[in-house]
Amino acid sequence: MIHAQTLTKRFGSRTAVDGIDFTVRPGQVTGLLGPNGAGKSSTMRMIVGLDRPTRGEVKVNGRAYREHRAPLREVGVLLDAKAAHPGRTARKHLLALAATHGIEAARVREVIELAGLESAADRRAGSFSLGMGQRLGIAAALLGDPATVILDEPVNGLDPEGVLWVRTLLRTLAAEGRTVLLSSHLMSEMAQTADHLIVLGRGRVLADAPLRDLIDGATASAVRVRTPQLSRLASAITGHGITVTTLDDGAALVMGMSPEHIGNAAAAAGVPLYEVAAVAGSLEDAYMSITADEAEYRSLTTTAHKERS
């Protein structure tokens, strides 16, 4: 459980995190979503005490992180895949971190295996690819078998097999009852991994809801319809808030009316229908709609689009 209250971080005149409140609950994967510069990393750094809040506070299981007797048993954190000395081997890096809490070499071996680093464990971290760096960072985060796991952009640089591994790992950790907080600007990854989302923009919480609710609430329900008599159908279903858009493939998208109502209206008007299908909103659509007011982010969300494809 992570609990933030009016958490604020200013760097000079720039406000990175602007008085946010949120709770991250155990037993599920919570995603911190937002464009670069939205305050995701600053928020995570404040959770583990690397940055000091300008105002407000954040607690992990009821206490400030630094007040825990065994911080590594409480929170495992990956903030940067490069947070290891390039001149030190992966094994020594992990042994040094483990030593602070009296964690033994057996556990270091275990996390090395878990992260799939057996063959690279005695190589210096400086020779690692970004993906291997991420694996080393995740191994370090798991050293203390922590109740809370916090990972900042963990799939950056991972190959498809690695991405799948992280996704499965996070789902398993959450299923074991742990608190899992994950940040990403990759919406497809979030959509497949997170149960709950906190959307940040310009240091503020734009949305904080279960993934499903977020998508349903922020995207208008649309129904894909195919008929040879589109104009007759359109006049049969006119009404307030209902729009009909023609699609490139000859079908049409009806917004503001359920498939049942469209079917009934078509039957009453004697219009044949070849296809009626509810189109589920995507996280991307929801995200665009949530951040639509934040004009500053139009271009940034476009960037996120590109990175995804």
Binding site: Y65, D80, A83, K92
Partner: protein, 281 residues
């Protein structure tokens, strides 16, 4: 709070928690697992013993005293401290600036969020390791040159009053130099800045003080209290035979010189600790 009930994992003791002894072990692993550390320490030993050996080889032509002299022996045997201090200084700065330049510091401080024990552990590990290397270097220099002194009838045994104490003081000075540099590195957080600042204190400050001291009396009065000058009195022989007599040219006994160096080191560590605690990592 709804903390998850976690199964016991092999390798994680039930009473696993943050302890200073663990942080000390962690810093020992960190320092000794870097090749740069091993090369630096080896450099101190080899350059120290090597230079003493070369000086001893050529000492007859450079002029030797008529009878065995502790002071003369030290001028050759303690060269390792004069040279090694620069390597020790770089090692001390890098022990912490290297964490910032590589972002290792994030991992370190996430494991030890109380922060200050990290600096304390680094200081103790550096002081112990570099002082030990200093002892190997200085007593090694004495042993490596003993036969050459003996050939000239100038051999000084370790039992001779002053010699062993001076070698011990020189080794301790190397350890304290590394620790002093650690504090400077913690204040500046940069390898280039830290090394420049420490070399300034070790090389430029004595030079500037001695130049200014020619015209300004008060500067001349404080010059012996500089880090490097006080350090040198740690391995010098007092002028008189009486206990408590100062090293020639200074108001300091070797012990007082050690205290001055210790004061400098403490000051740099305290300022480094304030920086470490106060600033975002």
């Amino acid at each position: 709070m709804s903390a998850a009930v976690l199964p016991v994992r092999p390798g994680i003791p039930a009473d696993s928690r943050l302890r200073f002894s663990g942080i000390l072990r962690s810093e020992w692993i960190k320092l000794t697992s870097l090749r740069s550390t091993l090369w630096s320490l080896l450099t101190i030993i080899l350059v120290g013993i090597g230079l003493s050996f070369v000086l001893a080889l050529t000492m007859e032509s450079a002029g030797v005293p008529d009878e065995p002299s502790v002071r003369f022996t030290l001028s050759i045997v303690a060269i390792g401290a004069a040279c090694g201090q620069f390597v020790a200084a770089v090692l001390g700065v890098l022990a912490i600036s290297g964490e910032y330049s590589t972002k290792m510091v994030q991992s370190t401080l996430a494991a030890v969020p109380s922060r200050l024990p990290v600096l304390a552990a680094k200081a103790m590990v550096l002081l112990g390791l570099v002082t030990a290397v200093g002892l190997v270097t200085l007593f090694g220099s004495w042993a490596a040159t003993y036969a050459m002194f003996d050939d000239l009838g100038l051999a000084v045994s370790l039992a001779e009053p002053g010699l062993a104490g001076a070698l011990l003081g020189a080794a301790l000075f190397l350890g304290l130099t590394a620790t002093f540099a650690l504090g400077v590195g913690a204040i500046l957080r940069s390898a280039a800045g830290g090394v420049a600042a420490v070399l300034g204190v070790l090389l430029l400050l004595p030079l500037a003080l001695s130049l200014l001291g020619n015209s300004m009396e008060w500067v001349a009065a404080v010059t012996p209290y500089g880090f490097a000058a006080a350090g040198e009195s740690m391995w010098s022989i007092p002028a008189g035979p009486a206990a408590g007599s100062p090293v020639p040219g200074t108001p300091l006994t070797p012990g007082a010189g050690g205290l001055v160096v210790l004061a400098w080191t403490t000051m740099s560590l305290v300022l480094g600790a304030l920086t470490l605690r106060g600033r975002d990592a």
